[in-house]
């Protein structure tokens, strides 16, 4: 298999949240098997998909991800017995919320990739990358980052928010 070296106008940023036991190992297998896939993906390792807080996904979109992949062990194969079931439930609800706030769900992919499925990892990553590439960049969340209420915790504008007249008034009324 050889990677396509042709130039694209848009290189999407794909973030993958994966569990260490199945998908991370599957991605390792893709490596040891020298399979090729687009280099757009950045992998963040978790012990289990159950550890993945939906907030991480929101934050990834906000920090510039154009597509997010969440991948763990197949149902029933969880190293921690049931973590992926909790993740599945959580993300089923989260998808509905995300769709409600206006995110195209094609940017968010859930999959099960086992430690033996190097080929599936390649397929999943390639498919998502190419899909997001045709969709173009995702500006919505990034713009929100510049607004104060979103970046309070980023630090720089925290003082501005905390010292706003509205908040002062509110504090005074409590006192």
């Amino acid at each position: 298999m050889h990677a396509e070296t042709k130039q694209h106008d848009f290189e999407p940023k794909i973030v993958a949240f994966v569990c260490t036991w199945c998908t991370y190992a599957g991605a390792d297998l893709a490596g040891t098997s020298r399979m090729q896939y687009p280099s757009n993906v950045r992998v963040l390792k978790f012990p289990c998909t159950g550890r993945i807080d939906p907030v991480f996904i929101l934050r990834a979109f906000q920090k510039g991800a154009d597509g997010v992949l969440v991948s763990g062990c197949h149902p029933g194969d969880c190293h921690y017995m049931a973590g992926n079931f909790h993740a599945r439930r959580r993300f089923a609800a989260f998808r509905a919320l995300l769709s409600f706030v206006g995110v195209d769900l094609n940017r968010l992919q859930f999959s099960w990739v086992s430690a033996a499925e190097g080929g599936k990892w390649v397929d999943v990553v390639t498919e998502l990358t190419e899909r997001v590439r045709t969709m173009g960049p995702m500006p919505e969340f990034k713009e929100l980052e510049h607004e104060e209420q979103w970046s309070t915790f980023a630090g720089a504008s925290a003082d501005k928010v905390l010292n706003s007249p509205e908040l002062k008034e509110a504090y005074d009324s409590i006192g």
């Binding site: 940023k13 973030v15 963040l44 012990p47 190293h79 921690y80 017995m81 973590g83």
Partner: protein
């Protein structure tokens, strides 16, 4: 953490071929907080590790990131090196720029950019990392071996001989497995029963071994050093303590025409039976589906003739919980059934071979039984349909194996050798008979193996035809075998009296279900996965669980026995310590913020979360909070993602660390 060191590895050329490692090291050096960065040809080598240790001391580093291979490969190596340099090992992390970058991308520019990003993310992880101390837990020095074939027997005997207690659990009524079914073994033509049965007796008599036959694993809880395994003891309907093994019940049972599984359905057994005369334990079991007493309530002959009164129709399945510190999985294999497509399986059948419809087409294990002195024909080679001695026998190799289009791409490893053995056994017993073998390649690596195969071809007159068989059908009392001979380049047609198929070796039925109970991984064929193909061939990725025999992949007897002894050695290594150090990746509760909703308790698969009462000085209850038992916590972090007040945190994967990594995207 303000003084981080970044060490970028070339991995010979494995990384540097597609990633500009010098640029990666240079870019890493420019990240705020990185006090030192460098690249080196082999970071994992002794000079590489020395370089790391020296840099820690010289530059007063308080965190280390090694950008190299997968952490699954060398995380331990570098954490040890960091520890030797005086750092807390958990402040050493790895950025995977080999498996996840250099090996999977060809464009140098893109791969280098990705490697820089990976390093940037991981630097944040190191920056927010915390020193952690390993957790010590006691080790229960008692092992569980699952499966009573040669692999399980060998592992159990080795561990027991080392002075540790062993529980051996076997699904069938007797231990022995497939090896007990074989007639002779290659390459020495030893009688299989003669070398197997003494070992079976050793198991039964060993003071350190508790043997549970006709039992299955119901549930597995706990972790390395401290497993709690629930074993289901299926109702035998015969009291093992009372039964003397006299066998009167079997001779008196009126229902005697049940196909015997041990003889591959070619011999008959009664409804109350032992699978074979040398069975261990020699206690019969009632096959309730075929027993008249259980089906119609009228018979009871076996109970009447049993002197000690051991037959008990009321017996029920019982359960025991066994505390063990290590588990050896040795569940073995089954042979591929080729006549039909197994339900729900991607594997295609071999309808064109007529197996299952033509009685004289049999598989290798059935031939073993026909050739065995204890088999249904008393060791005479007689074909199943009419009991005549076959004069032309065709053996077909690679049936199912190495056939991608049929769903199995692997080589079953033992068939070349056992087919060569079969031709010899046949030639020894039917002097005027002729054996033909259709084969793709003869794969005979192993001590004395090629010599054995050559003997079959050169001295024992087996005719080897390189080519495959396309179709077989019955003509009169013969089977017409149509195939090709690719060396001569012609079609071949042989009229055979008997056809023996070397069908593929597959994992046992239910191997996937057992893996799910144990929490170990398996491949797409259901063979169990070892932790590392080369360096950890007997360990599972799940600590404390080891593999032996054909459940991990097709294996012959010498390889199986070697692996079983290796697994036993690993168990003994574990048992050599009284206390075990565990990875401190466990959840902790911030009692200040916890409101005691116990959402975490509901999602915890380990039952590690308890309710703790916080009281003031007068002893009045202030509030209830969650408490995580670190010895029981598995470290999945589901509780943390669930906690509404963010007051529970998994060490090593804190929100702060992950958020910092996302910020660095």
């Amino acid at each position: 953490m303000s003084r981080i060191g970044v060490f970028v590895c070339h991995c010979g050329e494995n990384i540097s071929r597609t990633v500009d490692v010098e640029q990666v090291a240079k870019a890493a050096g420019e990240i705020p907080g990185v006090a030192y960065s460098c690249d080196y040809k082999y970071m994992c080598s002794d000079p590489g590790q020395t370089l790391l240790k020296k840099a820690v001391a010289e530059h007063k580093l308080d965190g280390v990131l090694v950008a190299a291979c997968s952490p699954r490969m060398h995380e331990k190596t570098f954490r040890k090196a960091a520890e030797a340099a005086g750092l807390n090992p958990y402040l050493c992390e790895m950025a995977n720029i080999r498996e996840h970058c250099s090996w999977v991308h060809e464009d140098r520019g893109m791969a280098t950019a990705k490697a820089k990003d990976i390093v940037k993310l991981m630097v944040e992880r190191v920056r927010k990392g915390k020193s952690l101390a390993p957790i010590t837990v006691p080790v229960t020095k008692r092992a569980l071996v699952i499966g009573g074939g040669i692999a399980g027997i060998q592992a159990a005997l080795d561990i027991a001989d080392a002075g540790h207690k062993v529980v051996l659990v076997e699904r069938d009524p007797s231990i022995g497995g497939h090896m007990a079914q074989l007639s002779e073994t290659f390459p020495t033509l030893d009688c299989s029963q003669c070398i197997m049965t003494p070992k079976m007796v050793d198991v039964a008599n060993h003071p350190n071994i508790t043997l549970f036959t006709y039992s299955e694993i119901e549930k597995v809880e706990g972790y390395i050093g401290n497993f709690q395994v629930t074993v289901k003891h299926k109702a035998r309907s015969v009291d093992e303590k009372k039964c003397t093994g006299c066998g009167v019940c079997m001779t008196k049972c009126p229902k005697k025409k049940i196909p015997n599984e041990f003889d591959q359905g070619h011999g008959m057994r009664p409804a109350i039976y032992v699978p074979f005369p040398q069975a261990v334990p020699n206690t019969p079991v009632i096959d309730r589906e075929n027993c008249t007493m259980f089906q119609s309530g009228k018979c009871g002959v076996c109970a009447k003739v049993c002197g000690p009164g051991a037959v008990d129709y009321e017996q029920k399945d019982t359960f025991t919980v066994e505390d063990v510190g290590a588990i050896v999985v040795a569940t073995g294999f089954k042979l591929y059934t080729i006549d039909r497509k197994p339900e729900g399986s991607p594997i295609q059948g071999y309808g064109e071979f007529g197996y299952g419809t033509i009685p004289d087409i049999i598989d290798g294990m059935t031939f073993e039984r026909l050739a065995s002195a204890s088999g249904p024909t008393g060791g005479k080679i007689l074909r199943p349909s009419d009991g005549k001695e076959p004069k032309q026998v065709v053996f077909i190799q690679c049936v199912g194996s190495r056939a991608r289009e049929k769903g199995i791409s692997y080589c079953s490893k033992v068939c070349c050798m056992y087919t060569a053995k079969h031709t010899m056994l046949y030639h020894h017993k039917v002097h005027d008979g002729q054996a033909y073998v259709f084969f793709m390649d003869a794969r005979t690596p192993g001590k004395g193996y090629d010599e054995f195969w050559r003997r079959a071809v050169e001295e024992e007159e087996a005719v080897y035809i390189r080519g495959m068989v396309s179709r077989m059908y019955q003509r009169g009392d013969k089977i017409v075998v149509m195939g090709s001979d690719i060396q001569v380049g012609t079609q071949v047609e042989i009229e055979a009296d008997l056809v023996v198929l070397a069908t593929a070796v597959q994992p046992q039925d239910g191997a996937d279900l057992l893996a799910q109970k144990l929490g170990i991984s398996y491949d797409k064929y259901n063979f169990y996965s070892e932790a590392h193909a080369k360096l950890k061939p007997v360990e599972c990725a799940t600590a404390g669980i080891y593999l032996a025999g054909a459940c991990q992949g097709p294996k012959d007897i010498p390889d199986t026995v070697s692996q079983a002894s290796a697994a036993a050695a690993k168990v003994m290594t574990l048992f050599a310590k009284d206390q075990l150090e565990r990875d401190p990746v466990v959840a902790k509760v911030n009692e200040k913020y916890c409101v005691g909703c116990f959402a975490c308790k509901k999602v915890c698969a380990y039952g590690a979360i308890e309710e703790k009462e916080i009281r003031d000085r007068q002893g009045n209850l202030v509030k209830k909070v969650a408490y995580v038992n670190p010895g029981v916590c598995g470290g999945c972090g589901t509780c943390q993602a669930t906690c509404p007040s963010k007051s529970i945190e998994l060490d090593g994967y804190t929100d702060e660390q992950i958020m910092a990594m996302i910020e660095a995207l």
